[in-house]
């Protein structure tokens, strides 16, 4: 971990905020993570939102938090690119697992669209 100035559209914004506050970028990241966690919990209690909208909010906030933790706390933004590649590599397999196993339930009551459900042969289910 080395102290350096972050650049780029998002990381640069973090850096600008940090410079404005007279703090380091980790502190700004910490505040942003705390804020979005409040928002995350609150979203579930707001009435009148559809299930899909709540899900979209939760996923959106999750992505922001993952960016903050992996990018700044785990220092992927400042480390050589090989570490980012190493971090992304298993996500491919994780995505395959989520698609191939997670979304392959033949008895799904969620009526998942065909494009996201694997076309497996489910004969083993009855056999």
């Amino acid at each position: 971990m080395s102290e350096h100035k972050y650049t780029g559209p998002v990381a640069g914004l973090f850096q600008k905020l940090a410079d404005k506050m007279g703090k380091d970028v980790y502190f700004v990241n910490f505040l942003i993570l705390m804020f979005f966690t409040f928002f995350e919990v609150a979203a579930v209690y707001v009435t009148g939102l559809s299930v899909n909208l709540v899900w979209a909010i939760l996923i959106g906030i999750g992505i922001i938090k993952i960016y903050g933790i992996a990018g700044f706390f785990m220092h992927l933004k400042g480390d050589p690119i090989i570490y980012t590649r190493t971090a992304i590599f298993p996500l491919l397999f994780a995505a395959l697992m989520l698609w191939g196993i997670g979304l392959s339930n033949p008895a799904s009551i969620m009526d998942l669209p065909n494009w996201c459900t694997p076309d497996w042969d489910y004969s083993y289910v009855t056999n």
Binding site: M1, T37, V41, W55, M97, I101, G102, M110
Partner: protein, 329 residues
Amino acid sequence: MVMTFIYGAFYIIAGFFNSIRPEDHGHDDNGDGYGDHHGSASPILMATGLLFFMMGFQGFVKTTKAMLGIDIAADYVGFAISCAGFIILIIGIGNWWREDLIGAKEQVALGKPFGGQHIRKAGMWVFLISEVMVFASFFSAYLRMRTGWCTQWAVDAGRCKTVDTTTASDLLRHDIMTLLPGAVNTFALIISSYTIVLALKTAKDVDWKPSETKWVRRLLPTRQKAVRNYLIATVLLGSLFIILKIIEWSHLVAEGFDIGTQAGSIFFIATGAHGLHVFIGLLVMLFMIFKADTVGYDEKNGHGIEYFGLYWHFVDLAWVAIFPAFYLY
């Protein structure tokens, strides 16, 4: 099976002897002031110990139950294998900690793709890859089951008519008091991620000076004590996580939501595996506090905090996914 054991034995023996062999001098000197680096036998010892511990674990459970008077046949062979594995594991951990206290040069990777990078850091990232896969398997299993359940969410969304499965979130998210442990835990992990960043930052800051604010100066009087106290804060927050987890689980079990149901099984396995990661992190941090208080962390050996921090941040990352999926959804 025989081939597996042969390969396993080969790797254990060859790995052990390779690890204790002195390295060529000078080829990875990164000028950090320590003496010649060492090959460490600790990883192979710990892996071997864990292998034997798990191999005999079933026998360990049976024999322990038999000793407690439960009507079950003891398996002394499995018990012995498991105990031997545990002893090897403890020796490996002890050796690792001893070596870490003595200190050694950071070994630098020579080949692609991590050429020029510290081997321990690259190793930690590769380890985290495997961790991602562990949690991905929990999530894919959960998603598969969840899409088949008629939960309150599915009913509200008009996708089915009668609730057939109660999830943990059904029992937790409707009342602020029942959701509170999970919510507080989320904040505790994020704050602990920041405190370990502060510990690392302080350790590496050669120009560190005590704060001018009186109460901060009392808490963090010197660089060495500041690092130690940040680590203590991290341990306290991690301990809070475990305590709240136990409270929350007790509530769920009292509500009749236990591991015997499909929803309970995936919930307790996923959150339990995460809790186990937190617990292991706490054990490692106890050692780090000891080291911070005795040997001390500075700009030369602060890498230890950085690499452990990667693990701790990953635990936080996993919670970022677990909390909404299991508590809010």
